[in-house]
């Protein structure tokens, strides 16, 4: 079995040698022109005058485009459930909907010229009065009519929450707030567009090729077949590249207008306003429990911001639906419209902010009833999905909790908060549970066997750092009985079979299942061919017992090389396709609740004088069904855990209440974890196989690591200091006033 092994990334040598080419880096089509976006400097209002003459006279400038001369564009079709496939109009009117929105595009011979000329576009605005302050506008929240992502209800209720909560002897009723956060992948959002006759070749940094193609085509109102997406390597996405944004649409406009290759990357500052943001949230969590910790009521009510013109509902309250047993339950989702950049998916949309709140509240309950937080969770483990009543497919949350507690030496946790001091450091332990739904979407993969016995896997699937190239190599190697070195995986091109891309942690399972099925179909073809081929050693044999290994197929004691079968019968090669169903067509999604699970454990030190918080170590134990590659799986989980650390302690985009601009819009001021923060982080995955998920037993894990990780850190801060901060991130000034008095 190659599946599951800790195979090194097959694209690793290219990446570490700087030979993997990202969107902005393709030179095959000759020197491109360079685009630069001019962004609005008001938060809401209307452009009253644009004078492009100075910019147009600036050296090297080839084009200055504004709403006056941008092409006519399609508008978003709201009936498409996932908005990534919808049109994305840019420069379509003089109206400004949020700070930084593109108001002009400058294209010049060089990057320096385009950037300089962009500063010469003269604009006047009539500013309106916008709503930018979430806290001040939270009373304007409304209950959205739409389903979340077209599938999930915004609100649910079981039993009688209020009665159940009121009757509970122990009650936690707290409000938690989480800030604006951004994906901020290291590769900026970038695009190179090459006109090719009436067609467009689009090198773009994107997570979903098919969505990029559809969005460009419906914006331009042209046939999607005219668009050719190429994206072999993507420098991270974390949700912000699920859809294409203005960089792509504007590069497309310019390339069509100038009939020249044009490339355009957002600046790091522009990324803050032009690629979507995780909405800020205010979350009320109510936990009503017996004195033994058993929950009788659990309610999670969430209000988040949405851009007024582009509704986005983050599935934050949904997180709580499958987590713990309790007879009386409620989840509710409200939106507060603001004139800020659009809400979009940021890694683990919903679970990341939702579990910060709920798993903090569980820690508060454990403290209130005087229980070990691990035991509290085990006590509230449900036997069936507590809302839907269906069985869980493969739930191992308790195993994760117990194994994590054992490995972390959880029993050494200080039972009393603020009771352990080592030198200047107050030391505390915290933990939290993790849960995330496992999703599935229609995906096709193709496997082609050549006459030399090598296989090529083709899919428009992307590898955004997730390890797709490597795991599909492993799946095809097992599927055809080939050594991994004889499998080549080709991804990220729109002429390949359509996948649902990388997002929602579903890419690995969707694509692996499709490729596995393609291999099955190909094996079938090969044995049938051999049986009917008089020149084959396998001629006339019953293919039922055929085995594929080492590049050969054997039946009984007789075997033949795959290359020989192919060379004789299909000198051009032979291929097959395989499919993964939509979850709505898969009865297992009706009959079972499919999730992934985990338990996080963190130890922090808090400086007794300054309240500086330092992670000391962190461990996550996870259950994800079967692991496709032990090495890349662990990397994904560790990465997610460090995101959780960032959410707990660092990340926060701060809004200027006068303009709606994110004032800290760069990587020096929007703090993300760096090496020095990520101390001793490790992840362990339990052996498993979820036979309800798919034929390979595998579930997604790209987002699971972040789920609950921040709460474990927050709970450790409480354990260290006795200070409970409910307004994330937990920064020094929020902890300092509550610290024990300084010693003389």
């Amino acid at each position: 079995m190659v599946i599951g092994q800790a195979l090194n990334r097959v694209d690793g040598p290219l990446k570490v040698a700087g030979r993997a080419t990202y969107a902005y880096e393709h030179w095959d089509d000759g020197p491109p022109l360079y685009g630069f976006i001019v962004g609005a400097t008001i938060g809401i209002g209307r452009i009253t005058r644009i004078d492009t003459s100075r910019a147009e006279r600036s050296p090297g400038v080839q084009l200055v485009m504004t709403h006056h001369d941008a092409p006519a564009q399609g508008s978003p079709d709201l009936s498409i459930p996932f908005e990534y496939w919808r049109a994305y109009p840019v420069l379509s009117s003089p109206d400004v909907h949020h700070y930084g929105e593109p108001v002009a595009l400058v294209v010049a011979t060089t990057f320096e010229q385009a950037r300089a000329a962009a500063a010469l576009v003269d604009l006047e605005y009539a500013g309106g009065s916008g709503s930018y302050d979430f806290a001040a506008c939270v009373d304007q929240a409304y209950a959205p009519d739409n389903l979340i992502f077209g599938i999930l209800p915004t609100d649910t209720a079981v039993g009688d929450l209020d009665a159940g909560f009121d009757s509970a002897p122990v009650r936690i009723d707290e409000r938690y707030t989480t800030p604006y956060e951004l994906s901020q992948p290291m590769e900026p959002h970038a695009c190179l567009v090459v006109p090719d006759g009436e067609d467009l070749i689009v090198y773009v940094s994107t997570q979903i090729v098919d969505a990029a193609r559809a969005s460009i085509a419906s914006t331009l109102r042209i046939d999607p077949e005219r668009i050719h997406i190429i994206t072999p390597y993507v420098g991270g996405g974390f949700g912000s590249k699920l859809r294409i944004h203005s960089e792509t649409i504007l590069a497309v406009f310019a390339a069509r207008a100038l009939r020249r290759p044009v490339k355009l990357a957002l600046t790091r500052q522009q990324i803050f306003h032009l690629t979507g943001v995780r909405p800020t949230s205010s979350q009320r969590v109510r936990l009503g429990a017996q004195r033994d910790g058993r929950l009788v009521a659990i309610a999670h009510e969430v209000t988040m911001h949405t851009n007024r013109h582009s509704e986005y509902i983050e599935p934050t309250a949904t997180t709580t639906r499958g987590l713990y047993a309790a007879p009386h339950r409620l989840t509710r989702t409200w939106l507060t419209p603001l004139d800020l950049p659009r809400g979009e998916d940021v890694r683990a949309p919903g679970e990341a902010p939702g579990l910060l709140a709920v798993e903090s509240a569980m820690d508060e309950l454990a403290h209130a009833v005087g229980m070990d937080p691990v035991e509290l969770r085990i006590r509230n483990e449900p036997t069936v999905d507590p809302e839907r009543g269906v069985p869980f497919s493969d739930r191992h949350l308790v195993d994760c909790l117990r194994e994590g507690a054992r490995r972390f030496d959880w029993e050494r946790r200080p039972a009393t908060p603020a009771s352990v001091r080592e030198g200047q450091w107050l030391v505390g332990y915290g933990m939290a549970a993790a849960i995330r739904g496992h999703f599935q979407a229609p995906t096709t993969g193709r496997v082609r066997l050549a006459a030399d016995g090598t296989a090529a896997v083709q899919s428009d699937m992307t590898d955004i750092g997730t390890g797709t190239y490597t795991i599909l190599t492993q799946v095809a190697a097992d599927g055809l009985g080939l050594p991994p070195g004889r499998v080549r995986v080709e991804l990220g091109r729109s002429e390949y079979p359509v996948s649902m891309g990388s997002g929602g942690s579903w890419g690995a399972a969707n694509s692996s299942t499709a490729v596995h099925r393609a291999c099955e179909a190909l094996r079938e073809k090969l044995v049938t061919t051999a049986r009917n081929d008089a020149r084959s050693a396998l001629h006339g044999l019953d293919p039922a017992g055929a085995e594929f290994s080492g590049g050969r197929v054997s039946i009984g004691g007789v075997s033949e090389a795959l290359s020989e079968i192919v060379a004789r019968n299909h000198p051009e090669g032979v291929e097959a396709e395989g499919e993964t169903l939509a979850m709505t067509d898969d009865p297992n999604y009706r009959d079972y609740a499919l999730h992934t699970y985990g338990a996080h454990f963190a130890e922090v030190g808090v400086d007794a004088d300054t309240a500086e918080i330092r992670l000391r170590r962190m461990l996550g134990v996870f259950s994800v069904g079967r692991v496709l590659n032990a090495k890349t799986a662990r990397s994904q989980l560790i990465g997610g855990m460090i995101w959780g650390l960032g959410a707990a302690l660092e990340e926060e985009a701060v809004v200027d209440p006068r303009s709606g601009a994110f004032v800290n819009r760069d990587l020096a001021q929007y703090m993300v974890p760096v090496h020095a923060d990520a101390v001793e982080v490790d992840a362990v995955v339990l052996d498993g196989f979820d036979d309800k998920a798919n034929v390979l037993g595998a579930k997604g894990l790209g987002e699971l690591g972040i789920c609950g990780a921040g709460a474990a850190v927050a709970n450790a801060v409480f354990n260290a200091t006795g200070v409970r901060v409910r307004d994330f991130p937990i920064t020094l000034e929020k902890v300092l006033p509550g610290l024990p008095p300084m010693e003389d």
């Binding site: 090194n8 990334r9 694209d11 040598p13 290219l14 570490v16 040698a17 700087g18 030979r19 990202y22 902005y24 880096e25 030179w27 100075r54 006279r57 600036s58 050296p59 090297g60 400038v61 011979t109 060089t110 990057f111 320096e112 010229q113 300089a116 994906s183 901020q184 992948p185 290291m186 590769e187 390597y233 420098g235 991270g236 974390f238 600046t267 790091r268 750092g465 997730t466 890349t632 662990r634 990397s635 994904q636 560790i638 990465g639 997610g640 855990m641 460090i642 995101w643 760069d666 990587l667 020096a668 993300v672 974890p673 760096v674 090496h675 020095a676 990520a678 101390v679 001793e680 982080v681």
Partner: protein, 204 residues
């Protein structure tokens, strides 16, 4: 047209860098101030003409097409653009190309190539010290520069005894010294593991 005015201004400023400046007509009414410079990149002596505003990073990426060096922020805040300049690691986005006449630059492409990787590159593959790979060339160049700094006895913020001529590269030392290189995929633990393999002279 106004283009020639600004061209003259750039020509004057590029003179400060010691390069030769030319004003090149490029059709329409464009005048571009270019400076001819020579860079030694990965052991090759290369002449190029750059806009005086061109960063060393863009000279590498857009002129020499050495796109292994990445642009993450263009503002000295992420480390993706790290290269070795005369043996020391720098952010190439914070340097103008015209400032580096005759300097020796090593980029990720000069450290090794697939099939013949530098020990740090090989250790990154083995330890999975990356995911998307975009910060990776910068991390690797930074690690190579950092190992040389430590070998030369340079202390860091977390060095307990700054007078000691020998630096023991603990996990804390490596993390501190590598904190100028952001990895949003957060491959940090694996990057540190890769660097430790090399610094401890283990298999790479």
């Amino acid at each position: 047209m106004s283009g020639s005015d600004s061209g003259a201004t750039w020509a004057a400023s590029s003179g400060l860098a010691g390069g030769t400046s030319t004003e090149v007509e490029r059709g329409r009414d464009e005048f571009v101030a270019l400076s001819a410079i020579t860079l030694n990149v990965n052991g090759r002596r290369l002449r190029l003409e750059v806009d005086t505003r061109t960063s060393l990073l863009d000279a590498l990426r857009e002129h020499l097409r050495l796109t292994g060096t990445k642009k993450g922020c263009d503002h000295g805040q992420c480390g993706a653009c790290t290269v070795l300049l005369n043996g020391r690691r720098i952010y190439s986005c914070l340097a103008l190309a015209v400032m580096h006449e005759d300097d020796e630059i090593v980029t990720i492409e000069g450290l090794g190539e697939p099939g013949d990787l530098h020990p740090v590159q090989a250790a990154f593959v083995e330890c999975d010290g990356f995911q998307c790979g975009y910060c990776t060339p910068g991390q690797i160049c930074s690690a190579v520069g950092m190992l040389a700094e430590a070998a030369a006895g340079w202390p860091s913020h977390v060095t307990a005894d700054v007078s000691s001529p020998r630096i023991a590269l603990s996990g804390a030392e490596i993390r501190e010294r590598m904190s100028g290189n952001i990895c949003r995929c957060a491959a940090y633990p694996n990057i540190v593991a890769a660097i430790r393999i090399v610094s401890e002279g283990g298999p790479a």
